[in-house]
């Protein structure tokens, strides 16, 4: 009997800890306050979110020139910016890769890509790779939707743009759009995180 009790106590303990213990991770969770940054845009100007006095929030997307998943999403990122900039949620793209580890992600190459594709949004270079670790971006593309609350930027959504990276026509869930739509109607997004395959962020350490 005692043995059964021990087993029970142990299994209950395992069940509880399995759902509550969190792995050690850096970066933001939904609900955290995000930092602003001051990074160089492809047009040479320094950009901060505090420059956008009238924005209600931001669609921050860590992306790059070289990752096929990023490339697959370029047109959809442009569409997101076109749709939501006027509603108060502009896209800000940040290239987190270290060009010494990923040569085609240099600032010069970013300029070329932005021009070729006609990016309608800032494409910033995370010089020294200081911003992406604070956000906890792990891959490209990786989306962080931020909502302005008083003077703070609250993380409202982290994850993918939608649920089909290869085939835009087969998308059935537009995670990023749904999140921004919810925020625009004064609600919290129903789905606050999602996962997708992406390219690891290239560093030299």
């Amino acid at each position: 009997m005692k043995a059964i009790k021990t087993v029970l106590v142990l299994s209950v303990f395992t069940l509880i800890t399995a759902f509550t213990l969190k792995p050690v991770e850096s970066g933001y969770d939904v609900g955290d306050t995000a930092i602003d940054f001051k990074l160089k845009n492809v047009d040479g100007k320094m950009i901060s979110m505090s420059d956008y006095k009238n924005a209600k929030g931001f669609i921050v997307i860590f992306t790059c020139n070289t990752c096929p998943y990023s490339v697959a999403y370029e047109d959809r990122i442009i569409a997101l910016d076109k749709k939501y900039k006027k509603k108060g949620y502009p896209v800000i793209a940040i290239n987190p890769n270290d060009p010494s580890a990923s040569p085609n992600d240099s600032f010069e190459d970013m300029k070329v890509r932005a021009r070729e594709k006609g990016f309608t949004f800032p494409y910033l270079f995370d010089d020294g790779q200081k911003v992406y670790p604070q956000y906890g971006a792990t891959k490209t593309p990786h989306v962080f939707i931020l909502k302005k609350e008083n003077k703070n930027l609250k993380v409202a959504y982290i994850g993918a743009i939608d649920n089909n990276s290869h085939k835009p026509a087969a998308v059935t869930k537009k995670y990023a759009e749904d999140a921004v739509d919810a925020l625009l109607s004064g609600k919290n997004p129903e789905k606050t995180t999602s996962r997708a395959i992406g390219c690891t962020i290239k560093t030299n350490y």
Binding site: K139, N163, S194, G198, T200
Partner: protein, 177 residues
């Protein structure tokens, strides 16, 4: 007391269910193995891949998630190949799960496998519903590749990172002892 008994019953049912599914998956897999020519690259949805990630046959499996377009993945592939060669006779199997784009199987993946003369088993994973299957493989996986799962019936370890050979071998040895 009655409640206790009920709880134990539920636990027992849960545990036995799990064993049933595992048996079924292994069976299904061997059937597939017979019908598939050995040279062909199996194209899997998560449902079809899952049995490879939950084998209970006493072997230790090293499952590497990669793609031909992923530079750090390509860089570490030789370490997985070496591991496969060195440990093949010691109850270890390496499986390379490619996340290449489904329409590039013939144009990129197969030529790459031939060019690099890959010896480990390669399967192509094409399930678009990544938000559903990524957390099933590991709740700690954000979706970045390369990523590696090492498991046997006792233990599972998941790594969202690149490996050097020594490091990879060390992680395998932790499960082999």
């Amino acid at each position: 007391m009655r409640k206790l008994f009920g709880f134990i019953c539920v636990l027992f049912v849960l545990v036995s269910c799990k064993t049933e599914t595992k048996k079924a998956s292994v069976l299904q897999e061997t059937q597939q193995g017979k019908t598939e020519p050995t040279q062909k690259i199996p194209v899997y949805t998560y449902k079809e891949l899952a049995p490879l990630l939950t084998k209970n046959d006493g072997k230790t499996y090293v499952i590497n998630f990669w793609a031909t377009w992923c530079a750090p993945c390509v860089k570490e592939l030789p370490y997985f190949e070496k591991l496969n060669t060195v440990y093949k006779g010691k109850g270890v199997e390496v499986i390379l799960v490619s996340l290449d784009f489904p329409d590039q199987l013939k144009s990129k993946l197969i030529p790459f496998i031939q060019k690099k003369k890959l010896q480990s088993k390669v399967v192509l994973m094409v399930d678009p519903d990544q938000d559903t299957w990524i957390p099933k493989i590991s709740k700690n996986w954000s979706g970045a590749i390369p990523a590696t799962l090492i498991y046997n019936k006792e233990e599972r370890r998941f790594f969202e990172k690149s490996f050097q050979y020594d490091e990879l071998e060390n992680e395998l040895l932790k499960l082999l002892k």
